[in-house]
């Protein structure tokens, strides 16, 4: 067997030097997988980086790392952007429908982490009815769904989950043990519930049908298990434990039959729930933005100079900075000042305040478009400033402001997908979660797009109808 391995290396060395081994990974996935060294930003460290280095060496090819968003790993693999993907991808039957997998390189468990002062949670079943942070589609997420009646909060930023635990936005964080070990082990405010539970395995993904590369990588991994180099790497990252015994005894299961179409009866409810969240957030945010925008526009046109300055400053700041940053500050930044907004409230407020800046400008244009004679005639009749505004100016400005306001409303529907960064699962996030579980990016993508259209098209129709009615007057 050793001879065979050597032979492999020799053969591969021939084709090697010229063709690099391209490795797809998402460094934002975080520690301890593969991540930017906090002490030396030029370097990438992590146990996957070390495994990749070792594999490349054994395959006799130079390693080339390709950074890509986690959700795009499998589609990019399929179109040949890189040769293999190793980024904490779980070995599941659903995943095996979408890609070819190597033998696993790491076995892991799930870890419950709670605040030190929380005695209510002693075991997995105690998570029922609690607010629990986790990662979309992870084994931990599926276990929570299996338990039922858990208020799952989905995090893409792992650090934020442990931060929210500290802020009392969560009762527990339930994630892959390697993550918990890295992020929370030294945190004096939290406690690990022992022992870790469940089990899963990470494996390397290849393009369907690329059995030649799979065979080479499997052989190299087997050699690394046998000669202890894999154990050395995993120990280095504090990941070694009895559960890793499974790595050596692993046997490839039979290939999973069928394509990667998502099972609709399971997929649709998730998408529809996401769509309802999108509609709720968008409607509330739009209402907020219209109210605040109107006040800003009025303040900017009619207010005394301090009010005008504040209103103008508001518009410039909120228009000139990314919505994403505003959401981050609102949700993750404000708690440092003692203000803890619920994710839903933060999402509505964030979107609403951001769009208020746009609405203010729309209204302002509308108000300024009303001829001056209208105000003079109203004042001459004895109407108060407020009555002039309410009865004469605003109804007329609506006609000018309505088309851009409608545009913004539709844009807001789509921008609402950004609230997923603060743990809300709306339509786009629901799509992303389903797609990364099933790798059915095209089918699910079309359905999701159709759902967005089903929301925005009637809005546009309604606006056109209103415009026609206003034009008649």
């Amino acid at each position: 067997m050793l001879a065979l391995a050597c032979w492999c290396q020799l053969v591969l060395a021939g084709q090697a030097a010229t063709t690099p081994l391209r490795w797809g990974v998402d460094l934002e996935g975080g520690a301890p997988y593969a991540f930017t060294d906090p002490h030396n930003p030029q370097r990438v460290i992590g146990f996957e980086q070390e495994i990749a280095d070792e594999l490349a060496k054994r395959l006799g090819r130079p390693l080339e790392r390709v950074q890509i968003n986690w959700d795009s790993l499998i589609p990019a693999l399929s179109r040949g952007t890189f040769d293999l993907a190793m980024a904490g991808i779980e070995l599941t039957d659903e995943h095996r429908r979408g890609a070819l997998f190597s033998r696993p390189y790491c076995a892991y468990q799930q870890q419950i982490v709670v605040r030190r002062d929380n005695d209510a949670i002693k075991a997995f079943s105690d998570l029922k009815g609690k607010r629990v942070g986790t990662i979309a589609n992870s084994a931990a997420h599926r276990m929570l769904q299996g338990l039922g009646d858990v208020d799952c909060k989905i995090y893409s930023d792992i650090y934020a989950a442990y931060q929210d635990l500290g802020f009392d936005r969560l009762d527990a964080v339930f994630m892959d043990q390697p993550i918990a070990a890295y992020y929370a082990k030294d945190n004096p405010r939290v406690r690990f519930i022992q022992p870790p539970l469940g089990e899963g395995m990470y494996a390397i993904a290849f393009k369907q049908g690329n059995t030649a590369l799979k065979a080479q990588v499997d052989d190299a991994l087997e050699a690394m298990i046998r000669d202890g180099s894999l154990e050395r790497i995993l120990r280095h990252w504090d990941l070694w434990g009895p559960q890793q015994a499974k790595l050596a005894s692993y046997v490839d299961p039979h290939p999973v039959a069928g394509g990667n179409e998502a099972p609709w009866q399971r997929v649709l409810p998730v998408l529809l729930t996401g769509a309802v969240m999108t509609i709720k957030i968008s409607l509330l945010a739009m209402a907020l933005s219209m109210g605040v925008g109107l006040l800003l526009a009025i303040g900017r046109i009619y207010g005394p100079w301090p009010v005008r300055a504040i209103a103008q400053g508001y518009v410039e700041v909120f228009r000139g900075t990314p919505l994403l940053i505003q959401l981050y500050l609102l949700y993750y930044g404000l708690p440092n000042l003692g203000i803890r907004l619920d994710a839903f409230v933060a999402g509505v407020v964030g979107l609403g305040l951001n769009y208020a800046a746009n609405e203010a400008e729309n209204y302002r244009a509308g108000i300024l478009a009303v001829p001056r004679g209208q105000t003079e005639a109203s004042l001459a009749l004895g109407l108060s400033r407020l009555q002039v505004l309410k009865d004469v100016i605003l109804p007329q400005s609506l006609r000018v402001a309505l088309p851009p306001v409608t545009n913004d409303f539709i844009a807001l529907f789509k921008d609402s997908s950004l609230v997923s960064v603060i743990t809300l699962v709306e339509l786009t996030k629901a799509y992303g979660m389903l797609a990364s579980a099933t790798f059915d990016y095209i089918g699910l993508g079309l359905v999701t797009a159709a759902l967005y259209l089903a929301i925005s098209y009637p809005t546009a129709m309604l606006a056109r109808w209103t415009e026609r009615r206003l034009a008649k007057a």
């Binding site: 004679g373 005639a377 009749l381 004895g382 109407l383 007057a473």
Partner: protein, 271 residues
């Protein structure tokens, strides 16, 4: 009823009213004449405080307009104003245009306001258009509605700021005859106009203005027969010459009767 004492008003460093003194008594029907930019509009707009003066003193119905505690809305409710551009509210029906102020300012019920509005619309010959929108009306019709809208507040004084200058010539008459009716009922009226014939007929006092001053203050008969100032004489001469020219042009078929109006011509030559 109205008193101006050494009133000065300027706009962009240019004097629009220059030391104006004026006394108006109840029941007077005053025509303000003079070239464009002579201060006619400004004078009217000072009376309901659409314009604020630089110095001097204006009293209307015994109220000092520069007093800090002036209830400007009460003042305006008692002073009706009709504009050159009508300024009807385009998003409301004719009936709602007339009802709005009585309901909002006088606190009238909708029923009361509508009854009064329909009566006034009938009076200006617009009863049949109560449910139309302003954009569906001709200019003359819009101006008649604007007059009804003003009258609905039961003002004690009416200001007309060139009410026919924006109208096609064939519509001038219908508006003037409505104003004539109002004057005949004893309403106090100030009207800035370029319609000399109308001014002569409807007014009992002429103010001729030039460069922000009232340069002649006399009765219509003597003003039109023999104006006292050189400025008024040239103004009237220009007017009659351009009228004659127009009539000649119409006569030779160079322009039709619906073409350039007398007003248009005199605005340019007299200004």
């Amino acid at each position: 009823m109205i008193q101006f004492e050494r009133v000065v008003h300027s706009y962009d460093a240019q004097r629009t009213l220059d030391q104006v003194d004026l006394k108006v008594s109840r029941g007077e029907r005053i025509a303000l004449l003079g070239p464009s930019g002579s201060g006619k509009s400004t004078l009217l707009r000072c009376i309901n405080r659409l314009e604020v003066t630089d110095s001097g003193r204006i009293t209307v119905f015994g109220r000092d307009l520069s007093a800090p505690n002036l209830k400007v809305r009460e003042l305006r409710a008692d002073v009706g104003m009709v504009f050159q551009q009508f300024n009807l509210f385009p998003h409301m029906t004719v009936l709602d245009n007339v009802c709005l102020a009585p309901m909002r300012v006088r606190g009238a019920s909708r029923q009361e306001a509508e009854r009064e509005a329909r009566r006034l619309l009938g009076r200006v010959g617009m009863g049949h258009k109560a449910d139309s929108y302003p954009s569906q009306l001709s200019g003359g019709q819009q101006q008649r509605v604007a007059i009804a809208r003003s009258l609905a507040m039961r003002p004690t004084l009416m200001l007309f700021d060139e009410p026919t200058s924006a109208l096609d010539p064939e519509m001038v008459h219908e508006v003037l005859s409505v104003i004539n009716d109002i004057a005949a009922e004893g309403m106090t009226i100030l009207i800035a106009t370029h319609e000399m014939e109308f001014a002569r007929r409807v007014s009992n006092r002429i103010l001729f203005m030039d460069l922000g001053r009232i340069v002649e203050d006399s009765d219509p008969a003597s003003f039109f027969r023999e104006p006292r100032t050189e400025r008024a004489r040239t103004f009237l001469a220009h007017l009659s010459r351009s009228r004659a020219q127009t009539e000649q042009l119409i006569g030779t078929g160079t322009i039709g009767p619906l073409g350039e109006t007398v007003d248009d011509v005199d605005l340019r030559t007299a200004g």
